[in-house]
Symmetry: C2
Subunit: 481 residues, 2 copies
């Protein structure tokens, strides 16, 4: 990429040179040349850095157009709320407090509907709560005569302490963190501010109406102009992660058993590497999943999700997936193991391992499909059965290793039978680890299947149209023969 | 715990009953008894839930007193800033805009010094930048006559778009997220607000001075009253995580090889379980580490950390530790494996595995010690050498498995020699996986050691006082014999 770009720049410079040939003196002095060279260097560095930054910034928008849409929506919301300033009747209507409407829009407008809803609700409820409490404290303070400042000071201290402390309680913080801040803010403003403002109730009322204006503008724009739902994003994230896991699993095992078969070109190699590393996204997605699940529950029904869609189940699915990803992370041990594994060992296990990994990844892809169509799967039971029989087969293969040629159906030729015997554990260790991790990941995938099944029951996913039989689990599926 | 509590409550109820014996009628009717029973149940549920919540809340404070201190500081800062309201000269000095000082304190005051600094700086710089830009736009707008509203509207839209977009660039977001919000806010307020306010410059000046007051109060309180440094917290977090990893590693391997030796009591079991699960904290600490490293770089020199302490290196150490934790996570595979491992296999590997795990955990503890004393370690090279020879020994043990009794020094009695021969790979698979994971975790621990070494060089940790020789690496350490 770098060299391509440089070539492009060179070309550009040459064409510029061609255009200004008359100004160039071929026999310029050495100082001049050094100066020109330095200038070119500095320009190049600046242009390069700037263009790199611009490209990076551009790519963020190109990769996720939703982000650009969000920015446009912020601009729109602010322009709308500004109208309150420009129009005299509106401005007077809120007693010159239009500033609070602008502030509300800036602070409350978030990229997802859930986040905006959550902040709006937090802001409104906390303002009402703290406002009435502040007015009450102010009334008590004025009644207490000389102790007024003391009463106000103590109550501000106490409530600020309590609200700040509540922000450390995890279950509270997840939902009402912003509300706690607004509570402290409003309470201080009302109770302390009341010391100087005469018409306290008027002020509170005006502030509430400006906040109401700000929040309604936010909610209207966030819901009706290209809404970005936290729930949909969470759903897609989990679905994408299933595909990534499947790609990584397939890729790793294939890579291991076909290592020296073909030399790929660089481009293909990079793509394969991207796929192999896919599980890393799953490793790091805990925070995103949890915060999105928290935001999604504020959202009304949208798409195929009801209001009470079991978003917390996605967190459980995510945790189950992460356990699969831990297994995949450790598969890399086998890839980079220093001792060379004998080809015969690879041959012995290759088929069974590939069978298991493809059965496992099929399940992961089917799960992604389930999520994508929000339907129950009719063939999941078959696939799980397949995977379990692949596990059983792999176990059988394991049992047949050190005992001499008691399994003639294996592809190990007879003249190598003696060598199978002499394989030390040390030699087959990487393969043994791979096998063990594959078997474990199969067990963990099964837990994931159960988690997704639970989701499909909780959320009433529709039945698959290609429904076959209701009681696959009891019957022997035809694929197992 | 639950039964203890209930017993306590029962006792309490009995004593209450004793006090009010005269009111109790032994032969009360069945309805009355049901009513009493229901009342007791409801009270019990309410009291239990409330007391549970209170205990949980209390424990948060008891576990980390720093949090309580932070709450007290917020109360103090707010009480201090309220003085501007109570004192007439101060109040008039900022033209009745003292409200902005309160708002600044509420929004800017964070629990760590770094976070508070970062927010203060963001707020001040963004306000100045956006304020001057807003005044400029306002001036242009007034010059353009009839197009005034159009110019203001477009500029608000454009700048809001740009600032919101910049919040999606990760490197920018990590440091200037809050600044971007304040920029949009101030720019809108000044440019739009300028449409109605006559003395725009005066307003801007007053707002700046109130923000200056608010931020200075925050900074003074956060630095001089029991400061909570993000850097120190990050340092301690990494140190604690080393100990947790060491505990988990030790615990897992010991548990595996001594499974059926002793039956422990419940209490001890719970404690062991806590230790075994310690690595999970490491798995989930990525986000915390990154955000703390981002905050710590705003902090001035404190304790044994300079201003330019290499905080980003902690993120690298954390990543290296997490790779160790992935290995430990998969050690659980071996613990819960369904097939029973033959005792002789456990015996065969037990010694070497325990040796390696204790050598590894010694390194982790030494790393924790290095962090704790911020000194370089004189015995690290010895420990690493030890670990590597333990790895080598384990490899030798592996090589000796399927070949009949070619290692007479092992504790396997001769009459069991034949059975060693007949162990299938299937039987020893869990042990083999354990061995393989232990060897891998040793390699990953070495990467961690390198990362900590780099930190000790970058941060100029002092030399160990128990320094022995400068070139341990070249020499054969005495421990290896």
């Amino acid at each position: 990429m770098g060299s391509k770009e440089e070539a492009g720049k060179l070309e550009w410079r040459i064409s510029v040179d061609n255009g200004t040939t008359e100004r160039l003196v071929p026999e310029s002095g050495p100082i001049e040349r050094i100066f020109l060279w330095l200038k070119g260097l500095v320009m190049k560095v600046i242009v390069e850095r700037l263009s790199k930054f611009m490209r990076k910034t551009w790519r963020i928008g190109a990769d996720e157009p939703a982000k650009v849409v969000h920015c446009l929506k912020v601009g729109l919301a602010l322009s709308l709320v500004s109208i309150f300033y420009y129009m005299r009747p509106l401005y007077d209507g809120v007693g010159g407090n239009a500033i609070w409407a602008i502030m509300t829009v800036v602070v409350v407008f978030e990229s997802t509907v859930g986040a905006t809803f959550s902040k709006c609700l937090n802001r409104v409820v906390a303002t009402i709560l703290a406002g009435s409490l502040g007015i009450a404290v102010h009334w008590v303070a004025t009644q207490s005569g000389k102790a007024e400042i003391f009463v106000i000071g103590c109550s501000v201290f106490l409530f600020a302490f309590a609200a700040t402390y509540s922000r450390f309680v995890p279950s509270f913080k997840a939902r009402f963190d912003y509300g706690a801040i607004i509570f402290i803010l409003t309470f201080s403003l009302v109770s302390v501010g009341g010391y100087r403002v005469d018409k306290l109730v008027d002020m509170a009322q005006q502030r509430l109406s400006t906040i109401a204006i700000g929040t309604s503008i936010c909610i209207i724009i966030t819901v009706f102009f290209c809404p970005i739902w936290a729930g949909t994003q969470l759903h897609r994230l989990v679905q994408r992660n299933f595909v990534k896991l499947a790609d990584s699993l397939d890729g790793c095992v294939e890579e291991y058993f076909k290592k020296k078969d073909v030399l790929k070109n660089d481009n293909e190699d990079e793509e394969t590497n991207m796929k192999l590393q896919g599980f890393k996204c799953v490793l790091n997605s805990k925070g995103t999943e949890e915060s999105m699940a928290n935001l999604a529950r504020w959202e009304p029904a949208h798409g195929s999700f009801n209001f009470r869609h079991p978003w917390q189940q996605y967190v459980k699915i995510g945790a189950a997936m992460r356990r699969c990803a831990y297994c995949l992370e450790n598969l890399s041990i086998c890839m980079t193991y220093e001792t060379e594994v004998p080809d015969q060992a690879k041959k012995h296990f290759g088929e069974a391992c590939l069978k298991l990994s493809s059965a496992s990844s099929k399940i992961l892809r089917e799960l992604a499909d389930m999520m994508n169509n929000t339907r129950k799967s009719s063939k999941m039971d078959f696939l799980v059965f397949d995977m379990n029989s692949a596990v059983q087969e792999l176990r059988e293969t394991l049992k047949s290793v050190p005992v001499e040629s008691n399994k003639p159906k294996e592809e190990v030729p007879n003249n190598q039978g003696d060598r199978t015997m002499s394989m030390s554990l040390h030699e087959v260790l990487p393969v043994a680890t791979l096998v063990s991790l594959l078997i474990e990941s199969a067990a963990r995938i099964q837990t994931t299947v159960e988690a997704v099944d639970e989701l499909s029951n909780l959320a009433d996913f529709k039945q698959d149209s290609k429904k076959k039989t209701g009681d696959n689990k009891a019957k022997q599926p035809p694929l197992s023969s």
